[in-house]
Symmetry: C2
Subunit: 341 residues, 2 copies
Amino acid sequence: MTVPQRRRAADASRPTLRDVAQHAQVSPMTVSRALREDAGVSAATRARVLDAVASLGYRPNEAARSLRLGRSDGLIGLVVTNLANPFYSQLALGLEAALADKGMRVMLGNTGEDPARERQLVHDFASRRLDGVVVVPASHDHRHLAPEALGGMPVVLAASPPVRIEVDAVLLDDFGGTWEATRQLIDSGHHRIAFLGLPAATWTGSERYRGYCAALEEAGIPIDERYSAYRQRDVATAERSTTRLLELPQPPTAIFAANNRNTIGAYRAIRARGADVTLAGFDDFELADLLGLPLRVVGYDPGELGREAARLLIDRIAAAARGQASRPQRVVIPTRIVEYG
Amino acid sequence: MTVPQRRRAADASRPTLRDVAQHAQVSPMTVSRALREDAGVSAATRARVLDAVASLGYRPNEAARSLRLGRSDGLIGLVVTNLANPFYSQLALGLEAALADKGMRVMLGNTGEDPARERQLVHDFASRRLDGVVVVPASHDHRHLAPEALGGMPVVLAASPPVRIEVDAVLLDDFGGTWEATRQLIDSGHHRIAFLGLPAATWTGSERYRGYCAALEEAGIPIDERYSAYRQRDVATAERSTTRLLELPQPPTAIFAANNRNTIGAYRAIRARGADVTLAGFDDFELADLLGLPLRVVGYDPGELGREAARLLIDRIAAAARGQASRPQRVVIPTRIVEYG
DNA sequence: CTGTTAGCGCCTTCAG
DNA sequence: CTGAAGGCGCTAACAG
């Protein structure tokens, strides 16, 4: 029978609570308490402990802590569809900042719009016992995102409301922002307004289309399908769709683009043809003011989405820890119209 | 004496390996082996195990695994200065993608250019026993980033080479890219070329300035300090600095901007004054082609930085696991000149 | 091929 | 105010 070694050899591994205890001539328990400021440790002892911690360069092992506590220590997952999109990276930054304030961290996952990958990621996050997860869903049916399916891990959706599950969500005022911008186009005398849309199956896509339709309807302008049949996600496709719109016998005099990809694609097409069309779109973006074309965008603070998601998640986690279950909340981030050019 | 309860009550906690073992009528060890495809489990047993896993919805507890193995399971830290900058978010995306391929994950940290926060983040990551960390340093002295100071956690620097420590690094061809772009400005007949720089204490700032100086020197053009004394990080400051340059008695006929913030700031100033100045800069950016001004940029693939960092780190981690220590590597991502307008 | 033993580092519970 | 015991879920090292 071999003697089990207390430490896995003299490798570069960090000192443990035991080492600190030995160094400070106290029991491990006392060190643990001293470090967590658990009332009931004399000032003198605490000082000795902190001294030992400093001189050994001790840092607690989060894995052990997690295991013992049954939860990760302040780790939140973030699942987005495309981090290269400034919208999501700013959301990530807002989330990171809000959590870092509370000593928490973000674990990152990118789905590339693939629902299978989304499912895989949240399950992995659940395995890792993260305290919670913020998801910008790529899927339409969210049942795999239910906390009950994830070992009780709280979930907050961002940019899209829950479907077939009940969880908190942070949303943009997709409908209202689009409605307002469209109304302003109408007010400036436009009647033939085209809509350059996102895939209709997406929440943002359909809400923004709804806002557009509502504004037209309200003004008594019939919705002409020829002006709204194009649904695309990337700049190149948006550009082609716009070109087709501009080639109609009676081209639109204004275009509302459902997001920054579409706005930029539309801009490229308009500029390439030197067309006389007024452009408006959802999402503000850098350099929007320098395009040399009157442009009206629906702006908002993407970081705020992240910060609000953090808030909802932290509240939810705290409630769960107390065994409380409250009704899912829904927060809407306001939008504002910004005019350029 | 109380009976210690095996499970912490009937809460929403996930089934454990033991539960699976019981369900499959085998020992926990067998389940462990079956799941990790550790050779030496009969096909029949494995099938029973997998069955039990499926019916219980079992997922391994990563915290326990980490604790037992003394390392986190495929977790890499990423510390950047500003995730809102597309450069870093694309780097993050490249890293995430490269790691996800190997079942690994990224933990995110944003320093906001604050060295104190950088130090805090890497130490926290070390506490969490991450397998390694990629850092875009905000600090100038990197001793706090030495693996020896971090419990042996491997470190890879990005965008900036190590100072006072020896670790792997992924760099851009800051010098070469700038040199080439400046040379091209000279070749097109420019003599009074201004340099709109980053803080001189930064690696990228000084390397790019060096490239600019080298090109001028090579062409026999003396370096005129009045054309290169401005060093700034954000668009607004760059715009003001450019305006000052344009107001010189003998304004420059061309400007090289050290990064996309400076290029955009310069563009704003040039456009506001309707100045006749040729613009070039480091970093490609969206809409660069639509500014309606001839523009030459030093382009490269930011995602490649992340992917290369992943590669270096994975190699380093594997080597460390084998107890090998090889010389630090340095990878340089090539740049290319892109012309617009 | 499968099971037993022991312990990773920490914290909850109970004794002193 | 401090210490001892024990176990969170998993797996390396030994039996059988």
